[in-house]
């Protein structure tokens, strides 16, 4: 590791990272500085370049330009040293579906250099800790999404990595499984592991990350703590869905009297507005009812990725309209 004092506190540092696939500039000059022992969130829509960035940092792809160091090791010149300190839980399940959970972990233990008995004991320990002991002898292809994710993460921990890359660890998970994954991430970082977390969810980055970079079209368009980011976006939002879409212009006018930056969502019956104060939100909803506007549902919550992008770039993310695209991120970026 470098003796440079600054380097010692930075687990990941990238400058000007770039990668093109044919005509597409998937990553177009990304700078990152991730302090040791923190969670750093990389937030962006599908195809923004998150996966490509992670693949370069974890030595799976060579950058076209720029440079990156992980714990002081250059990803291009010292890939083997980098591999010795990182683990990757990729977006596609990075476990072998044709083996059992236990066999996956024993195999990795052996590959990391553990003796046979130690690898077996380690596998049992991890399966127990991650709530997979009962499923240990089943083929991974029979696992639920949440179980697969937990196995995938535990596979990254056979030898505790100093730096862990997590690529959309909760995409496609139900809320309970997602909370479990979040708890695991918190425990890991408490134990001193540095985590680079790619996600599409502001809430996830907000819950877990100490610092966040928002990435779009392969560039970092905003960076800061979750607090700073939310302050620039508006710390909360009121979402209202009307019974009758025809009421939307009237409802919009009512909300504008009570709240700021009211805007129309893709759903023709839905509106959202910036709202940091629950009481004012409740008043706004009451005002809608008083006008006789029927409300199907409403919620107060954090701004969605759409709203972050709207606030930062003045437009929604390009692919925000798509559903079920999460698994194609890789291919889109590689295409």
């Amino acid at each position: 590791m470098s003796e440079n004092g600054n380097r010692k506190t930075l687990a990941i540092e990238a400058s000007g990272l770039a990668k093109s696939f044919g005509e597409t500039r998937a990553v177009d000059g990304v700078d990152l500085a991730v302090r040791t022992g923190t969670v750093y969130g990389v937030l962006g829509p599908n195809g923004a370049g998150k996966t490509t960035t992670i693949r370069m940092l974890s030595t799976l792809l060579l950058p076209d330009a720029g440079s990156a160091r992980v714990l002081g090791y250059d990803v291009e010149r010292e890939p083997d040293e980098v591999r010795g300190v990182v683990s990757l839980t990729g977006q596609l399940a990075s476990v072998d579906e044709d083996l059992t959970g236990r066999e996956n972990l024993i195999l990795l233990g052996r590959l990391y250099g553990l003796k046979r008995d130690r690898a077996k004991a380690r596998a049992a320990e991890l399966l127990e800790a991650f709530g997979l002991a009962d499923a240990a002898g089943r083929l991974v292809k029979t696992y639920s999404g949440g179980m697969r994710r937990r196995l995938d993460i535990s596979a990254s921990l056979v030898i505790t990595p100093q730096v862990l890359f997590l690529d959309e660890p909760t995409t496609g998970l139900d809320p309970r499984s997602r909370n479990q994954v979040w708890d695991i991430i918190r425990t890991l970082v408490d134990g001193g592991t540095t985590i680079l977390l790619c996600t599409q969810y502001l809430e996830e980055a907000d819950q877990l990350a100490d610092g966040i970079a928002v990435i779009d079209h392969g560039r970092v368009i905003a960076e800061g703590t979750p607090g700073q980011l939310k302050a620039s976006v508006g710390s909360g939002a009121l979402h209202v869905r009307l019974l009758d879409p025809d009421d939307r212009p009237r409802a919009e006018a009512v909300l504008q009297r009570n709240l700021d930056s009211v805007h129309r969502e893709h759903d023709p019956a839905a509106l959202s507005a910036s709202c940091s104060d629950a009481e004012r939100g409740a008043e706004a909803v009451a005002a809608l009812s008083a006008e006789g506007i029927g409300i199907a549902d409403f919620s107060l919550g954090q701004p969605s990725l759409d709203e972050v992008f709207l606030a930062l770039t003045g437009r929604p993310p390009d692919e925000a309209e798509g559903e079920g695209q999460t698994d194609t991120d890789d291919r889109q970026e590689a295409a």
Binding site: A155, I159, N179, T187
Partner: protein
């Protein structure tokens, strides 16, 4: 990030069901319990990947069916259907064809090495393997070592069936074992050709088609089934130059106890040549893809 971390529920999350909460303490303990051991040696990493191949056979034993049924069909079909017509008696033809059928049964299996690599590439687990601090060709070498066990299964089926049908070569069991060993060494070399194919082709099906389109004519245009002397001159020259013919001659020679060293040298030399060219090529393609 919430400093209290564990134990907090989020505003939008469903309440965790009783007993579903993961034991943060257990995870913490599991994390602190590992010390990084010295790196796995190249041999140990490759053997671990070989073990992975074995496990897949254990979980889906049906995949050995093609390795076992095809050769059985070949032996029975050629011995009893064509034997009388080609060699005058089924017994005589059986003795002629057995060493050759051993060769083709095992060589056909090598195509599956390419199919397996191609299938692996579509899965996320390959990314994990490539971020491990291991000797980088070990997944490839390991899976071919695992395949060698499949070759051994195919060879055993043929040999046992031959013995049941009354095949008694002069050099006895040591001769048979020597022939099996040479055939497996040749197959190890040949399978690098198919792993290269597996890395450049788009789908497992394409690998299968291209693989069998290559191996099928090459095994037929050899001395497995008929004596090359009976062939037209041009074809005879091709058959005699075919390394598979040398492998078959070596297999026959070892079983009969009269092997010519030229055949052994050509067969093993070809295997070494394939390995020297296609193993580095496979490795380079594997690292880039």
């Amino acid at each position: 990030m919430n400093p209290d971390g564990i134990g907090t529920t989020t505003t939008t999350g469903a309440p965790p069901a009783a007993g579903s909460k993961l034991e943060a303490e257990a995870i913490r303990k599991a994390l602190s319990a590992t010390e990084r051991p010295p790196r796995a040696s190249a041999a140990s990493a490759a053997l671990s990947f070989g073990w992975r191949g074995m496990l897949k056979v254990k979980h889906v034993p049906e995949q050995l069916l093609d390795v076992t049924i095809t050769p059985v069909m070949f032996v029975l079909l050629f011995t009893y259907l064509f034997g009388g017509a080609i060699a005058g008696s089924t017994g005589e033809y059986r003795d002629y064809i057995m060493p050759g059928v051993l060769v083709i049964a095992v060589l056909f299996t090598t195509v599956y090495s390419g199919i397996a690599i191609n299938t692996d590439l579509t899965k996320g687990v390959i990314d994990r393997f490539r971020t491990l601090p291991i000797w980088s060709p070990s997944p490839l070498v390991g899976s071919l070592l695992g395949d060698c066990v499949r070759y051994l299964v195919a060879a055993t089926v043929i040999v046992v069936l031959g013995l049941i049908l009354g095949f008694r070569p002069d050099a006895g069991l040591p001769g048979i074992l020597a022939a099996v060993a040479v055939v497996i060494l040749f197959s190890f070399g040949l399978s690098w050709v198919f792993t290269t194919m597996g890395l450049v082709m788009r789908s497992p099906n394409a690998v299968m088609n291209a693989g069998f389109m290559t191996i099928f004519p090459l095994t037929f245009l050899s001395n497995v089934y008929v004596d090359p002397d009976t062939l037209p001159a041009g074809l005879e020259a091709f058959v005699n130059a075919n390394p598979i013919s040398h492998l078959v001659s070596a297999s026959r020679g070892l079983m009969e106890g009269n092997v010519e060293s030229e055949n052994l040298i050509v067969a093993l030399g070809t295997a070494a040549l394939f390995t020297a060219i296609f193993a580095p090529l496979t490795n380079r393609l594997y690292r880039r893809s």
